[in-house]
């Protein structure tokens, strides 16, 4: 009984000690769905990629606000953290000056929320890939 329990625990420990879960977490954060692609779950990865990129793109198209770090406003800091969750999408938005620095029309506020939620959903997806990789979640 104890032997079989030990035998079951060993693969889990071996999986946890490898760098695959960390790789999935970081790749999934940088590119939406990349963590699932690494784990050979292409359909899940593609659906996550499409959903998160579509939300981010719609937010940009609605002239949503791209938050900057270090503005001193607590709500801006929270928005920045949420949008930073989108990984390379946020980096591209800053690099290519997408979005707007301020909300000018009513629908643009929806755009801002779309961008923030895209970042937060991407964090959820990256953590899910990490959980799949270390065996915490059944695939």
């Amino acid at each position: 009984m104890a032997t079989s329990a030990t035998a079951k625990a060993q693969p889990a420990r071996a999986t946890q000690s490898s760098s695959i879960p960390t790789l999935c977490l970081i790749a999934g954060w940088l590119v939406p769905g990349a963590g699932h692609f690494i784990l050979r779950k292409p359909i899940r990865g593609a659906l996550l990629f499409l959903s998160i990129v579509a939300m981010f793109t719609i937010g940009i198209a609605l002239e949503g606000k791209i938050y900057q770090p270090n503005t001193g406003d607590l709500l801006d800091i929270l928005g920045f953290v949420g949008q930073l969750g989108a990984g390379l999408l946020y980096a591209c938005a800053r690099l290519f000056d997408w979005g707007h620095p301020t909300v000018l029309v009513a629908v643009a506020d929806y755009g801002t929320k779309f961008i923030v939620v895209a970042g937060l959903l991407n964090i959820v997806a990256a953590v899910d890939a990490h959980s799949l990789a270390n065996g915490r979640k059944a695939s």
């Binding site: 899940r44 959903s51 939300m55 719609i58 929320k113 895209a118 959903l121 997806a125 953590v127 059944a138």
Partner: protein, 58 residues
């Protein structure tokens, strides 16, 4: 780009439900069911809140 408020709700609910379904359930069938459940809750909750605000104002 300009979209109506309801279209924004539908798009938000669709994409968020897909991510919730995939990440919060392990089996594909349960993923689909949970995603559909989240979509109905998102849209239904928004419609219910809208009617509530309408009756508060009138």
């Amino acid at each position: 780009m300009t979209i109506t408020h309801f279209t924004a709700v539908l798009l938000f609910a669709l994409f968020a439900s897909i991510v919730f379904g995939i990440t919060q359930r392990a089996e594909p069938k349960m993923m689909f069911r949970f995603g559909a459940f989240c979509f109905v809750l998102f849209v239904g909750g928004t419609i219910a809140a809208s009617w509530l605000m309408y009756f508060i104002k009138h």
